[in-house]
Symmetry: C2
Subunit: 256 residues, 2 copies
Amino acid sequence: MIRGVLLDLGGVIYEGDDPLPGAIEAVTQLHAAGLPLRFVTNTTRKTKRALLERLARLGLDISADELFTPAQAARDWLTAHDCTPVLVVHPNLESEFADIPERDKRAVVVGDAGEAFDYAHLNRAFRALVDGAELIALAKNRTFKDEDGGLSLDAGAFVAALEYASGKTATVLGKPAPEFFAAALASIDCPPEHAVMVGDDAEADVAGSLRAHLGRALLVRTGKYREGDERRFEPAPTATVSDLAAAAGWILDRRS
Amino acid sequence: MIRGVLLDLGGVIYEGDDPLPGAIEAVTQLHAAGLPLRFVTNTTRKTKRALLERLARLGLDISADELFTPAQAARDWLTAHDCTPVLVVHPNLESEFADIPERDKRAVVVGDAGEAFDYAHLNRAFRALVDGAELIALAKNRTFKDEDGGLSLDAGAFVAALEYASGKTATVLGKPAPEFFAAALASIDCPPEHAVMVGDDAEADVAGSLRAHLGRALLVRTGKYREGDERRFEPAPTATVSDLAAAAGWILDRRS
């Protein structure tokens, strides 16, 4: 029944600078079983290249094709819509947009900018919106589990701020955009009904993928998971499991 | 018919460091006609004392009783709800809350913090909300007309950010909270149906006061006014006039 697996990264594979217990082995198990995998992340503090290097340091060697990032989706969107970006992104991510030529129209692109979410950057973006720019969100996650273990404000809060002030509605390119899940599944030729998504975000990962018509979605109790998250958003997870190791077991019991 | 007048300050009386043309004279006319006035402002970058001093420098001498600020409403709210504030406000405004004792509960208080709207302050407030603090907005205005003449992000954008990330809904204490208009009118013993509000914000001043059952509300084409604002929010203004001088003429034609 299950023919393809989408995996979130932060809070599922790793947390901070360390892999989560059993996570790397779980990926190896899924690979060994011949299940095609794709990693779909809303992490926007690093370039795709830097993310791949980080994963390799954690012991996870994957190809560029296996990793889907919102920044790549944004580059495609900007080209398709003939727009130059006005960036509100982490300094680490700016190089991902460095070679985009000047174009007629502008689009504000908001990622998880971290400390770069300051009044000057946000107000510059707001003024571009007032002047007619489109609003693009790499992600609209509300929170992420920060390095100190606490929940911190994610990009979604600042997207909401710009939406509220400008009256515009952001086009979200990362999870839970159905197009983002669809692109990842298309690349492994897996129909959505035979796919499963595994994530720690009950809203963007789990409810989002089920709304994008994936057959199943598992919520793991690692990363940003908080007690009761499985009842907080609709649709609810197909199952809630302790971690990726448990998720891999669940999936391998149901593979075609 | 009209027995009391509420006036906004920024964008109606002054802009930047200068009074708007004819504004001080218009207040003098209204005073001379014996109409009781109250100044209701969502400006939260200065203490009440500093605001009164600024108005005096502009040539407008009013008493502390005539000026209604959201910070005063917040102090009352914090006392009534036995809360200590977690401040996200402009450094100038912090002294207004300096003498509040430690209390059992906490409430995040958001004003127009300007450059102090940075990631560290906002995330500290977010974490207090996650820990159970209430969310109080001194104002939820979307924009204000900045010193350089452009529109800039106002407190409302950051209130929306904290609401989105925390899932909580802010209690708004300044305009357009009906209690705020009601307190100002009660102080001049004026029934709402005989009152008029004059402001440059079609949403918080005009639609807000009409929703609070004021009899009339005038939109002035100064300050943050933008072409078409009179059609952007419901209820629409009773009339749209060029500035406070024109508003005073309109009001004096309809005084009881």
